[in-house]
Symmetry: C2
């Protein structure tokens, strides 16, 4: 139906490209108002990619120069401590943006590794596209603000939970934040996210069904 409109050839090309990143387009459309030209120009600077399961997308020690938008799949963010233990810090799901945003903003080396847990279709948004957006999209900064605010709220919630909930309570409510995570991530990663060992989580679960 998009093609029903009287566009010239160059616009057609843009649309073809945009269709590949339909979900990102919608996500942006929900945050801000753009003209079709703006949207096309922005999306043209992004690149859709598909990665297989357990693929490494970004490694600690490198400066992140792109933000990823997940169309289908799941990515885990993980941090390795000085003893070599990996801590799963975050899971990123469909229609979410992900990267070490802190390092991205500061243009410093990331401490995080990003890795797919399933075959994942995503859109790479390079720093240049983001900078272009801030300069040329009428509401570019507003979009950046929305995204930063969204993740601020998420983090605030995490921090709150850390103070007032036990690991067990956090486990029981994890699907509020990561729906269906139990079928998409192995237990030891979930345990790690919760800040406990997989051994301990196993015991917590056991206690739980013993009581019921």
């Amino acid at each position: 139906m998009l093609l029903a409109q009287p566009f010239g050839p160059s616009v057609i090309i843009q649309i073809t490209k945009a269709c590949k990143v339909e979900q990102l387009k919608q996500a942006i459309g929900q945050m801000i108002n753009t003209t079709p030209a703006e949207m096309g120009e922005f999306l043209r600077r992004c690149e859709p990619q598909t990665h297989k399961k357990r693929a490494n997308l970004s490694s600690a020690g490198t400066v992140p120069n792109e933000v990823l938008f997940i169309e289908q799949g799941i990515i885990r963010v993980c941090l390795t401590d000085s003893s070599g233990v990996e801590h799963t810090i975050h899971f990123a799901l469909e229609n979410q943006f992900i990267c070490d945003y802190s390092a991205f903003l500061r243009q410093e080396k990331s401490l995080y590794d990003l890795e797919t847990l399933e075959e994942t279709r995503l859109v790479v948004i390079p720093r240049s596209a983001i900078e272009w957006g801030y300069e040329h999209l009428a509401e570019g900064d507003r979009m950046g603000r929305s995204i930063a605010e969204f993740y601020f709220i998420y983090q605030d919630n995490r921090i709150k939970n850390q103070y007032i909930r036990t690991p067990k309570e956090r486990y029981d409510n994890i699907t509020d934040v990561f729906p269906n995570i139990h079928n998409r991530a192995p237990q030891h990663m979930i345990a790690s996210y919760l800040g406990i060992t997989s051994v301990h989580l196993s015991r917590l679960k056991k206690e739980s069904y013993r009581k019921t």
Copy 2:
């Protein structure tokens, strides 16, 4: 020296007002470019206040409709759990913005209490001023983005530390984030911020100087 410029009477009034909130003005000036008119209009919508030590600035259960900017003093943010225990979630220092920003954005009831630990001079920035800023400051959204990004980085850092550092290590480095906090907040609040009891912190400190 500001007054040396050839301003008319109405501008003088704005400047007089602005002088009361000189620090906020500078903070904004460091984030974005504004015309003097914009800046004056914005600051005119803000109100400087002074509160004495241990004053309650905002209570859990109310919808926050203002952001505070601290010119001089210190505020602690605290969260009361279902057993009535108070957890100190955050300290806000000079030249920082503070409020339950998550609740502010969502326009929901806050879970946090805000209270001064010293006599505190601050500027109240009402929601209406912020909305005005997003509509009328050329770089309003950019400022909002900067602020959200700044606190995102702060939170990211906290979360990281929670995974890879022990409470003791976090204690030893707390002045990185809150310089001079040892002279400004009682130990039990610091312990609470770190997620341990004041009793335990006392023992950690003891161990520490026993080893040296």
